[in-house]
Structure formats: C-alpha cells, structure tokens
Amino acid sequence: MKITPSAVPRTSVPDIIWPALPSGAAASLLAMQYQLEQSQWWTAEQLRVQQFRQLHALLTQAWESTPFYRERLKAAGFDPRTALTPETFSRLPLLHRQDVQAAGAALLSRQLPREHGKVHEGKTSGSTGRPLKYSGSQYSQFIWQSLTLREHLWHKRNFRGKLAVIRVGTQNNALNSWGPPADVVFETGPAATLDIGTAIATQARWLQEQEPDYLLGYPSNILDLANHCREQGIRLERLREVRTLGEALNPGLRLACQKAWGAPVVDMYSANEVGYIALQCPDHEHYHVQSEAVFIEILKDDGTPCQSGEIGRLVVTPLHNYAMPLIRYELGDYAAAGEPCACGRGLPVIARIAGRQRNLLTLPDGSRHWPRTGFQAWMEFLSVRQIQMVQKSLHEIEIKLVVDQTLTADEQARMIHVMQASLGYPFRIFFTYHQEIPRGAGGKYEDFISELGREGPR
C-alpha cells in the first residue's frame, strides 16, 4: 500500500524521532498551527467574537502609543475600558493609502510592548501604484510565517520536493532548503531561485534544468512562461503545483498552467504592509479570509458592507502589527464577497480579488520580461502619490505620475537613470502628470501596461 507523505516535524532531541520534540521556534509555529487547525472550523460568529477581543487589544495599544489614532478613536467613541462593539468600530474613519503616505512616522508606535520584538521597515510599490513605507514587528512576522506554514499544510505539500522561485529580490541561487518557516519545522527538499528580470525564454530553460515539484511566482510572469512552454513543447514532468502571489490572478492562468504543465494553480493574496489577507481554499478555487490575522471588511461606495456576490472596496485591519497599526486600512483593491464555503471552514470567503494586474515588458530584441521598476531606489529621493508605466513602443516608456510637485530636471534625470537600469534597456522615457490614475476593467489596477500587445491565454 502506498502511504501518503505525512510530514513529521524535525526533532530537537536526537532519539525522539516520533512524535517529534521540536525546538523552541518550531514548537511556537506548531502550537500556532494547533490553534489555526481548530479555529478554521469555528462558526463565523465564533471567529468574530475572538476578532473583536483582539481588535480591542490592538485599538487599546494604538490609543496608548500611536498619536495618529488617539483623536480618531476618541471621536468614534472608543473607550479602552469597555468591550469594542462592531458599531464603534465601523464609526472609525477609513485609512486611505494617501493617509498612510502623509502620516509617515505618526503611524508608528511610540511604545511597542516588549514581547513584539524588534521593528523592521519595508517599502512596497503597492497594488495600485501608490508606493509606501511600512513597519512591522517580529511578532507580526511570526504571524506571517504561521500563515505561510498553514498554506503549505492546507495544500498538503510534500516538503521533500523541490521548490523553484522566480520573484524580485532574489539572486540566481541553489539552496539546500525552502527557507523559513517550512525548514524551521520540517526537513525540506532543495529550492532554487531565479531573478524575475530574466527573459522568459531563459526562465523556461532554467525550469527545465531545475525540474521543480513546485513553482512560486507572479501571475503575469507565469502566464507568459506557461504560454512559452506550451508553444515550445517544454514539459515540466515533476511539477505538481504552481503557487502564485503578488498580483491579481489572470483569468486565463489556471487553464494555461493546466495546458502547459498539467499543474493546478494555488493563489495567495497578501500585501507587504498587511501580511496574508486570504489563501486559496484547499478544496476550491476561491479564497478564505485569514481571520486569525486580519479583520476584513468589503464595503460598498456608501460605506455599507457588501452582500455575497457584490464587489466592494477591501478594508483591512491587521490584528497583530502593533508597530504600525493600520486600522480600517483601505488597501486599494476590490473584492467580491463569497458564500460560506462548502468545505466547512468558517473563515469567510472571497470569491474574486481585483488587484494589481501587469503586462510584461518587451525589449527591442523581442525578449519578454517581468517589469522591474526600481521603486526601492527612486522612493529614496521621490515622493510619488501614484504611478503607472506604459510601454508605448519597443523603445519608449511613458511614466504617468500623481505628485504634489512636478519633478525637477534633476529628479527626472535620476528617475530615468533608475528606470533604464532596472528595465534593462535605455528606453526613451517621458513623464506625464495626472490628478488621479483610474483603474482598468473589473477594478484592477494596471501598474505596467504594454501597448505592444496584451497577453492572455494564447
């Protein structure tokens, strides 16, 4: 009889193999999995009760140590001494991305409780072209990792398999393991990483060499890769699953991956400044809100909650980031609420997410690339409210900007320099200025548009 792979954690006591006695860090992650394993089956009401207990703790902390919120909370009628009601919570004004951009350090906690550990900072391009800086704590990072692990366990991954990763911020590397949190808890197989800037044809060859069991990347890049592999007859025999994140799932992506490699797509919905928002159901293609980590509202334009099937603005409150509380944060994405899931989990369902959509860049030599826009570099010297890039021709890029002040000649020159370096070709770059950059069809925001030909399943 074939025995299904069942992961036994790594043990910290050599002779005690099973059940394992995991080390401190691994035990913390597993103790959290124990809780997540239980809470996923709670009713929506049971989840809500615990979320409001935690929201109360978060709001109390923000009240005490984040000056930005004191007035907002007071005006909404919040009182740390009494239990938080949904009515009080819904009176709090929404926090827009522009507010976060403008508030800056005023959103940071002045007195982070010790147990939350060190604070880290990051930058994000944002899913609507509105870049911002954010901070998190070791504890919010731990919650992030706990959900990463939940996602692996939900989808019953074989940790012994090989993982290939094509994304930003990585080098071309062969690694011994999948990295944290998976390898903190489990013995994992190797991983290989490839820089996202690599041309699609090169990526395909690399994958052929790597023979991964799992592929992790961005939908726009993977769609092009799948189409390329199918056209070139490149099979990835070992590939069991494609994992996607970072962009809205292209409608044709699941079909393209199925046709090219016979592999299903498992999508994750997260944002750098927020963490995981929703993960694909183990049994369905829709998403479960990660209620243990975020409180989600999907609101109509009049501010009232959407009913299932309706599309509205996604408003997120991460429950455990006390370093930079984001309370009723309007992420900028749109989502459709779903019916309760047939799988039995009480975690609410998001049927569809209208987030960031992207085209690939085409270089004059005809090679296609996922567009790297160098925002990490230009955010250091430019304050941009919103940005969108349009490839007008093989040699020309338009940069649409929403800014408080028109760029100086020097700023333009530096921006052009950064862009040309990160896009990998000395494009002719010109700037246009706008009051606002509207969304595309279906509420999706296109941060890189190519007018050379739109991709889709071919």
């Binding site: 025995i3 002779d15 099973w18 597993l30 103790a31 809470s39 409780p113 147990e115 504890y139 243990e292």
Partner: protein
Amino acid sequence: MTGTALPLLPVSSFPSVAWPAMPGASGTAMLALQYQLGQSQWWPPELLRAKQMEQLQALLQHACHTIDFYRERLGAAGYVPGQPLTEAVWQAIPVLTRSEIQRAGDALLSRRIPAAHGRPGEVQTSGSTGQPLKTYGSGITQFFWQVFTLRDHLWQRRDLGGKLAIIRYWPDGSAAPPAGLHLPGWGPSTDAAFHTGPSSVLSIDSSTTQQAEWLLKEKPDYLLTHPTVARALAEHFIEHGFSLPELREVRTLSEALPSDLRALCRQAWGVPVVDMYTTREAGYIALQCPEHTHYHIQSENVLVEVLDASGAPCEPGQTGRVVLTSLHNFAYPLIRYEIGDYAELGEPCPCGRGLPVLTRVMGRVRNMLQLPDGEQRWPLLNYKAYREIVPLRQLQLIQRNSDSIEARLVTERPITADEESRLAEAIRASLGYHFTMNFNYCQEIPRSKGGKFEDFMCEIPVQNIEKT
C-alpha cells in the same frame, strides 16, 4: 451548565495579545505535540506502524549500547544496531515478564541516559501479585504522560473551565475526608496550555458515605475515580435519591471497567462514563474513542501487542496478553513487556482514526475464572441480580481451587440463610458452574495498596492453570 462548548482558547503569555494566544514555553511544547497527535490519529495503521518502527529503532539501538541485559537479549533475537529493524527480528525478541524485571532490577537502567531526557525518576507500581515493581521514567516520559492526559481532555471536548473532582489513591494524607484537598487548576498537563477551573481531591481510602457527602458539597462537573468507587457511589446516590446536577461525565481509570457501570452512571446521574487504560510504568496505553465506548491504542506513546497463548498476534475479536513497548523511555526501556493484563482486540474504528482498537480491557490473569474442565474465562458478575436478593455494600469473590469460591461480603444488615443460598445460586448462575460457595462476612473489604479493588480473584497458581 449545558449547551454548546465555547471554543477552547489556550492561555496567552503575551499580555498585549488576546487571540490567537501565545502560550508560554511549556504550553507551546504541549500544543506542538497536540498538533502532531491531531494529524497522526488519522493516519492509516501502516503509517503509524512505520513511524513506530523508526522510533523503536532508536530505542533498541540505545538499549543495546547502554544496557547489557538488552545487548544480549536483542542480539540473540538477531537485532544488529544500525541495521533496519524488521518485523521478524521484532517478533523474535522474547517477551519481558514482571518477574524478570523484578529480578533484573537496576540492571535494566541505562548507563548513559541522553542528557535531553532528564534525570531518571523512580516509578513504583503496587504490583498485582503483591510484589511491587520498581521501574524508572525520565523527564521525557513525564512530558508524554502530560501530552496524552491533555489529548484525552481534547478528545472528549471537556469544558476545562469546569470543576474536576478526583477520588484516588493520595498517599500523603492531604486529601483526607471530610474536606479533601482543593487545588486551583486541573494539574500541570492541562494548566500549561489552557485556563482550567478548580479541582478537588479526596483520598480513595474514605467510605462511600463520606465520598457522597463530599461530592454533594463539591458539585463537580467531572468526576475522576476508579470504576469500583464510581459504582458504589452510583448505587449510593440511586438508593438515597441524591443527585449531582452539574455532573457531566464520570472518568475512570486503574481497574477493569465493570460491565454494568455505564448503565449505573446513566441511571444515577444521567452521565456517560469515559474510561482510560493507563499504567504507571508505561503511561497511557489506550483512551476511550471520542465517539464510541471502545478504546484507541495510543500508538504515538506505546507499541501495544495483543498476543495469544502461543505468542502470535491476536486477530480482531480475540482476547490475549497485553505486551507493551514504551516508545520514549530511554532511562529504563521496557521492550515487549508483558504487563499481565488481558485485552480484546477490535476491528478498525468507524470514527476513521487509524489508532488500533481494544474493545475490552479485562485486567490480570488472576482475575480470570477457571472452570473445573480447565477452561478460563472472564467472569461477568451480575450485581443487579445480587442486589435484588441482599442489601450488598461490597463483594469480592475468591476462587480457592477449581471448584470452590469464597464470597467476601459487606452487607447493610445480617442476611438470612435463605438469602445466602439464593445469593449463592445467583453467583453460580453468573459464573456458569455449580461452585461450592463459602460466605465470609466482613466489616469492610480493603483496597490493595494503590487503591485498586478487584472483585474477582483466582488463587490457583498460574503454572497450574497453564498446565490444564
């Protein structure tokens, strides 16, 4: 209190965070294990067995390297350290009897207990044959004991905020009647991870009347005690028309479960009985299924074999000797240890758990009846029938030889010759043979050291039984 149980929330060591909880180090270790047990309980038997063999491999290797007794014994069975442990080698390892352990004593103690296992701690068992058995556990076996205690709570979905009353062997005198002992929580296994309600303890060497009065005062949600105590209490409550409205469950351990106890507890208090099979020297052996009255072997803690007279594994439906191997005791390994109990192996459980099933745990061979034709069987005493004849407080049957039984009894009043002969008939009927009956009236029939009470004992030496 009734109604749907609230979700069970672990304790948080982070004052600023309400949910999900971040338990302290011991609670974290406990929940990390519960996560694993939550998964492994659903594994197919083959996978459980494979993981057990991996763990046994480590145990046998350690035993060979650090205990001469096992080096010889395992070597003779064909075990070579470092080579994979096969089922054939395993079956060739001789069964370890209690008397062998008694003779070997500290020779079974490892010379080099790995530091991570903690210091060895003595474990004394009362010993059913009157000879106490001394073994050793470690910090790790202690930890696993707590892990399975908690699994039982979680399986049975107990409201840990409720009150737990315990009537058990409590030798230090602190739980003496009438007040007993009052504790703030349920104990370290449970308190490390969850908020618990209070618990109260009464020593088992108290009278049924004292126990009943104590329970009426304590008003517990859960009662943990020996089956014979629970039975005496249930009868007492029925007789006096007392009730325990808060009581939700009777938890039993330490003695074979009498067949009438579940019905009696339903009648007395309207509650179910949840039994467990544990031993001091090997920890949790089997726990009652959350959905049935039979038991699941705790395969993550112990390898349980049920062997027939020839030493071959029993089939479902067969009763045989229980042979245990504690998977994590590296201080004083017990490898294929014949504990002396008999149990009936069951079919796989419809609940879906892959953990093997015991349908019945019978107790010791000395609790077996021997018929004059040599047949041995587990006696089923019919207390209901006996009690319809005489006002019985306690009863113990002792088989002196193949055709006579001594009945020791404690009654509320002297009984008549007619009642005695009718009782003799009822006992003969339930035992299935026309034994010569001798009656012996007592003030009290004491429990053995450790608080166990055995209602049937056969004093025919084991060798004689085996010869017949």
